[in-house]
Amino acid sequence: MISSNTLHVVATELVVGAYALSGVAFLLCLAHQYLPGSIRSSYRSLDAVAHSAMLFGLIATPFAIWTGLSSAPGGEMSSPILANKMLFSMSGLGLASGVLLARWRLGISLWDEPRSRLTQGVSGLGAVGFMLVTASAGGTFSRGESLLDWLHLPYGETLLMPTALSAILLLVGIACTTIGLRSNA
């Protein structure tokens, strides 16, 4: 029988590895105009790596969240670090989903326009950043240390909004999604 802890380690390593690869590829895509010609000409490959790695990480993320909740000692939200992990991972999940759907709808031509290129690149890097911070919070919770300790992020404090404000934010999110999805109708 494999414990939830072990499954969580496996799932998080898949997620972090995939997102880290995706992050490097997004960075190169975003800056490909300023790179040497050999890399600049291969941005189609970088685009494929960035989005397929992000898709893989996105598929593995729910498993990481689920096993993380199962393995949390003392309950699902017994620590502010666990609450922050939930908020960061859900934000990363939403951002990554938007990035992938945008890429599917616009195709590779989104890298041709400066505005869409900037939006796609920054959103992709943002999703990667959220996931890496989530992993860092997990390391701080389970081992008391992480690679991002030098940033001194306040994992012990959770910015928790009132439920009503969360509901309003949810409605704003639904409105944004509706506008985004109906734009080419």
Partner: protein, 374 residues
């Protein structure tokens, strides 16, 4: 240099610049753990080096079945051969690496000395000197010889072995668990001491004893000051006393001296840790906020990355050029064409092409281009 060679060199540099250690200087927290954790907690047991620390176990001369007994691990050579900073201490009943906690050999762990009841604790080496001691309170369930082992794992924070994981295990220490003298004043077998409490709260202890006519209780703080507690007898063999509230997370210890018609007995020191338990949080608002944040970011990306709408079909709809051209008068269309100069009787000038004449014929006839008409 070839591009592929550059990439290969870069990969080799990245791989070789990593260390082969996986120690966790932040520790893993106290708990109930097998010796296997001495390797697995460092990532790969095969990477462990042998610790140079000297380990031994101290225990009372008389250990009676069903009675608490202090078992102390003594670690010598701290901060001498290694710069440990944090040491993980195991109390084990065998070295099988699995199923080897004292619980597997009939021991009950009443206290780990740090507010818990596991066989594994982590201790900082700051200010301990070269000798580190840690005490557990165990209770045996059967008469006979039992063997205990001490084990440690730690890292090295400096020197040539910096970051490497180390593991060490002691020899076996055999403890003979004897039957309890019939009329020994003692703690009842059903008494389990409290090991943790909240900061700011008193702790009232109801001590259940056997063959006891009188009980005295004393407690001490971390700085070693010993204070007598007021003990009340609620009924025969039940003694009640109160430990004062702690104002900050800390540990105090108490012990009782029991006397009766038979031999008297002083119990081990029982540790009680004061801690701050995190507040219970309703998970629903956190889930809702997480969902809302995710949906807002998802929608924001979609809204910003909308297709422009200039598809081929739409261009066809709004491109009225053919219609406009059809409405233009033929003359206007003819006027819009550049006029071509009439050819001389002798035909094209020598060496000229039709295209040249189309563009420069007028200038030739005017004598401003080429040789001009003769």
């Amino acid at each position: 240099m070839n591009q592929r060679v550059k990439v290969l060199v870069l990969l080799i540099v990245l791989v070789t610049s990593t260390t082969f250690s996986a120690a966790e200087p932040g520790g893993n927290g106290d708990g109930l753990r097998d010796m296997q954790c001495g390797g697995a907690c460092h990532g790969d047991a095969g990477q462990n080096a042998t610790s140079l620390l000297t380990l031994s176990i101290e225990y009372p001369e008389q250990v009676w079945v069903g009675q608490p007994a202090e078992v102390r691990i003594v670690v010598e050579g701290v901060d001498v051969a290694h710069d440990e900073q944090l040491i993980g201490l195991f109390l084990l009943s065998s070295t099988n690496a699995h199923g080897d906690t004292p619980l597997e050999d009939g021991w009950e762990i009443l206290s780990n000395g740090q507010g818990g009841s596991g066989n594994y604790v982590e201790r900082s080496t700051d200010g301990t000197g070269s000798i580190l001691e840690h005490t557990w309170v165990l209770r045996a369930d059967a008469i006979g010889a039992k063997t205990l082992y001490a084990a440690v794992h730690h890292a090295d924070a400096s020197g040539p072995a910096q970051g490497s994981p180390f593991f060490g295990v002691s020899q076996g220490f055999e403890i003979n668990v004897a039957p309890v003298p019939e009329d020994l004043a003692r703690i009842h077998e059903d008494f389990t001491p409290t090991t943790a409490r909240e900061v700011g709260e008193d702790l009232t202890v109801l001590l259940h004893t056997k063959y006891t006519d009188a009980a005295q209780v004393e407690w001490r703080t971390e700085d070693g000051a010993v204070i007598q507690a007021a003990v009340n007898s609620t009924e025969a063999n039940y003694w009640q006393f109160t430990l004062p509230a702690a104002i900050a997370p800390s540990t105090i210890e108490w012990r009782a001296t029991l006397s009766g018609e038979g031999p008297s007995q002083t119990t081990p020191w029982f540790a009680v840790s004061a801690q701050i338990t995190p507040e219970e949080v309703d998970a629903l608002p956190i889930y809702l906020q997480g969902l809302a944040m995710g949906l807002v970011l998802f929608g924001a990306v979609l809204a910003m990355q909308r297709p422009s709408g200039q598809t081929d079909d739409s261009l066809k709809i709004y491109d009225e050029t053919p219609t406009i051209e059809a409405l233009q008068p033929a003359e206007e269309a003819a006027d819009s064409q550049p006029s071509i100069a009439p050819l001389p009787e002798e035909g094209l000038p020598p060496g000229w092409t039709d295209e040249q004449w189309q563009w420069y014929g007028h200038e030739y006839l005017a004598g401003t281009y080429g040789d001009g008409p003769q």
